[in-house]
């Protein structure tokens, strides 16, 4: 394969994301407030925004929905805290750890590559660091979270990971032409 056919890792990189545990919390205002407090946040993140604690991130993906991500060594403590905080409040907390997988993408071309997967505006003014949303990535449902000026975390359902990874790499070749 010639050099021009190979995406340069300096411009765009796809890497497997970390192993995480995940829970989705569905609830009204009181449920989300209790969940956010139990997670260690001072308040519920705004729509399409994330907030972080040591070893964990909460993403507000819907008006009545928070998704919690936890690093494995903090997961048991976080889950216990969530269960205790939500005990008497009508809400639904479901573990979705095995449903989806994280993919980290980064590099100067990262916005261009994402633009080939979704018609959303990924310019940093429209999609700032800390923003997260579900959308369609090509034909796969997925979450996009901007972790830095040139880095995003994607989460797609497990069976879509080979499709998504290959698609990203092919698109990365195309945007160099």
């Amino acid at each position: 394969m010639s050099d021009v056919m190979t995406a340069s890792q300096a411009r765009f990189d796809v890497a497997a994301g970390p192993d995480l545990r995940r829970w989705v919390l569905q609830g009204r205002d009181a449920g989300l407030a209790a969940g956010a407090a139990a997670f260690g946040l001072s308040g519920v993140p705004d729509m399409l925004r994330t907030a972080q604690v040591a070893g964990g991130t909460a993403a507000r993906l819907g008006p009545h929905e928070l998704v919690f991500f936890a690093e494995p060594d903090r997961a048991d403590a976080i889950y216990s805290a969530l269960q205790a905080g939500l005990k008497d409040i009508p809400s639904s907390l479901v573990e979705i750890s095995d449903r989806q997988v994280a993919i980290d993408i980064s590099g100067p071309d990262v916005e261009l590559v994402l633009s080939s997967l979704s018609p959303m505006d990924f310019n940093i003014r429209a999609f700032p660091v800390g923003m997260a949303t579900r959308t369609l990535l090509a034909k796969a449902d997925g979450m996009v979270w901007r972790t830095g000026p040139q880095s995003f975390r994607l989460e797609v359902w497990r069976s879509f990971v080979p499709y998504m990874t290959e698609y990203l790499q092919k698109v990365a070749c195309d945007v160099r032409f």
Partner: protein, 101 residues
Amino acid sequence: MLLIRCPYCGDRAEIEYANAGEAHIVRPADPMAVSDEEWAQYLYMRDNPKGLIAERWRHSHGCGRFFNAIRDTRTDRFVMTYEMGQPRPTIDSEAAAEAAR
């Protein structure tokens, strides 16, 4: 590309949404008390207007929530979207004319 404004997420491409039919159709409180004709009316009969329609949409590939929208069926232009549970808003003639354009 047709953009639709989710009341929670903002403007997104049409492909993220699913249409869910006419809005503000009230299910009979006691289905056993209505006639077959009335039940059929509730189940199947829709206005199908040429012009402004109130209809349900779901941001199925985004936040997942249902909401309502006012759309002109001739031009596909959306006048506004609003949260479930709110009454059908009145659209002034200026906004209606703009949607028909």
